[in-house]
């Protein structure tokens, strides 16, 4: 099965003349997109904040790795198992922690992520500990990852544009009003949390198959922060924005090698500026649409002026209106 995929992958990449390096970049991009899509549903659409998604990635990665290496399970089933197991853990964790108030929930997520990392480092028998887990079959070929990403985006898009997404968004907008129209906020928050963990687990499983060797410390707090950062850069409340965000964050340091050292510094700055001036993201809770894009290009001078006024605060009332909080 893996051979079949890698042969097709080889044919496709030689047809498009994509070299191994570029394939690697595309694979990393796909993995990031999937993880960020999960984060986007959680943070952008439900306004929940998790510092634990790297933990779910690592659960997905180790589950898939152990299943393929030790139990010789077909990699597709291993990936599904990894993603679902991460989701299952999130469901349990969410059941007990989502009733806590905002910051308390956040710290338990963070604590959970760190606990997973410490435990995986400690359980040398099953995970290889800090020395890492080697010998994972290279199932994450470029073609396979691209297929996964398209599928992930498709599912997330349909999810968000159905009643499920609408209910999540209503919780983001005003939890008390959502409850007042019969939406069980706790249940939908848990659904969102589980969804994002499944995506994180999926991304983690692909990551394991790409690197063929994983260590617990790749899934640390910094990784969770990076996921949030990417989501914010892409734009909260926009799935297409999240995809662009993930592409930018993966490609930029590759394109400008000199930037690589300043990468996290620049992302941090970008996050601060976006939150200060354009908190609803680059698209303002809107999905990318070609029509609007062309319109925007045509009206570029005028939009630039509006944008400048927004930044300098001359147009403050208008700028505030869209991004007001609940309370």
């Amino acid at each position: 099965m893996i051979e079949l995929f890698s042969q097709i992958n080889g044919a496709v990449s030689s047809f498009f003349q994509i070299n191994t390096y570029l394939q690697g970049v595309i694979i990393m991009m796909c993995i990031n997109i999937i993880a960020v899509l999960g984060m986007s549903v959680l943070t952008g659409f439900t306004r929940l904040f998790s510092f634990g998604n790297a933990g779910f990635m690592s659960i997905g990665a180790y589950t898939a790795a152990i299943l393929t290496v030790q139990f010789k399970v077909n990699f597709i089933f291993a990936i599904i198992a990894g993603a679902l197991f991460a989701g299952f853990i999130a469901y349990l964790l969410g059941s007990i922690t989502l009733k806590l108030k905002g910051d308390y929930f956040l710290i338990t997520c963070l604590g959970f992520g760190e606990c997973v990392r410490v435990l995986f480092n400690y359980m040398k028998g099953t995970t290889g500990g800090s020395a890492g887990y080697p010998g994972i079959p290279p199932y994450s070929t470029m073609l396979f990852c691209v297929i996964c990403t398209v599928l992930a985006f498709f599912i997330a898009w349909r999810f968000i544009h159905s009643k499920y997404g609408r209910n999540l968004t209503s919780i983001r907008e005003n939890e008390m009003a959502a409850e007042a129209v019969g939406i069980n906020a706790f249940r939908f928050k848990r659904m969102s949390f589980t969804f994002s963990a499944i995506y994180a687990g999926w991304a983690g499983a692909l990551y394991a198959g790409y690197l063929m060797y994983i260590v617990p410390n790749s899934f640390n707090l910094a990784k969770s922060c990076e996921l949030i950062t990417t989501t914010v850069i892409g734009g909260l409340g926009s799935l297409t924005g999240s995809v662009f965000g993930a592409i930018i964050v993966t490609v930029l340091p590759e394109a400008f090698r000199a930037l690589a050292n300043y990468r996290m510094l620049l992302y941090g700055l970008a996050v601060i500026l976006i939150i200060m001036f354009r908190p609803s993201g680059l698209y303002g809770y809107k999905e990318f649409s070609l029509k609007r894009f062309i319109k925007g290009i045509i009206n570029l001078p005028q939009n630039a002026k509006l944008f400048w006024e927004r930044i300098t605060g001359k147009n403050k009332i208008k700028a505030n209106k869209g991004d007001n909080g609940n309370d």
């Binding site: 349909r158 159905s162 009643k163 209503s170 009003a177 209106k321």
Partner: protein, 259 residues
């Protein structure tokens, strides 16, 4: 089951404290089917606390609340809404960044009886249900006079329209009881007259029972069949608006006694 004579809502000896503050003191009320009941009293009299007790935002310390003969004393907010109690908020709580029509569609989420796979594969049932929900929401918006604003952002509406949208959203639940928290707040005489007309239309069109908190006496006189007057959590008068107006206790509470 529910006979026509039984009250839609009944509260028995409800008490609620916040720290040392006795927010509601032994409050009882019966609201008959098809009536509009007014809850009036100065600021801090405990009116909104009563709403929050009914809708389950917090449970009373003691006492019982029945809705259509079901005990809802300790029921959670979304369950109360699902049972058929719609509400608006004193400081309007819309889903501000969403479109006007989405605000209404969200409130009909209970009618969206499809599951996750059906949503992801957009089955015929899903498409039919979604189209139906949108149509119903548009009808409702048409009724409140907001159909031309359906695709605008809720926060971009003027204040009066936001109030109407919030009521439309509550109506999308198809409630049997509607709780209105100061619907005429911040409106001038002409606008509140408009509102009186609007509430009357809603009541006759949807055949529902209404409990409303209101300060404007003219709105109360024009709308309510019965009133309860509160002061510092205590019920000081019950009766028709005309009776209330001539009640010395009420006059004292409103004009300020010398306590």
């Amino acid at each position: 089951m529910t006979n026509t004579n039984s009250p839609v809502l009944e509260m028995q000896n409800v008490d609620k404290h916040f720290g040392g503050v006795h927010a509601i003191n032994d409050f009882s009320v019966k609201i008959e089917r098809g009536k509009i009941h007014g809850l009036i009293g100065p600021n801090g009299a405990g009116k909104t606390t009563i709403f929050n007790n009914i809708t389950g935002i917090y449970a009373p310390d003691s006492g019982k609340i029945f809705f259509m003969e079901n005990d809802i004393t300790k029921t959670t907010p979304h369950k109360v809404a699902q049972l058929g109690i719609g509400r608006t908020f004193q400081n309007i709580r819309l889903f501000s960044n969403l479109s006007v029509v989405d605000n209404v569609i969200i409130a009909s989420n209970m009618d969206a009886k499809y599951n996750m796979p059906q949503a992801i594969f957009k089955t015929a049932k899903y498409k039919k249900l979604e189209a139906y929900l949108r149509e119903e929401a548009m009808d409702l918006l048409g009724f409140v006079g907001l159909s031309d604003k359906a695709n605008e952002r809720a926060s971009s509406l003027p204040y009066g329209h936001q109030r109407k949208l919030e009521i439309a959203r509550a109506m999308a639940l198809k409630p049997k009881l509607l709780l209105l928290d100061e619907p005429a707040a911040g409106m001038n005489a002409e606008e509140s007259l408009d509102l009186v007309q609007f509430v009357k239309e809603i009541k006759s069109h949807f055949d529902i029972t209404i409990l409303m908190i209101e300060h404007h006496m003219d709105v109360v006189t024009n709308l309510c069949d019965h009133c309860t007057v509160l002061n510092f959590g205590k019920t000081i008068a019950v009766g028709t608006p005309a009776e209330i107006k001539s009640n010395p206790e009420v006059i004292k509470a409103y004009l300020g006694g010398d306590e």
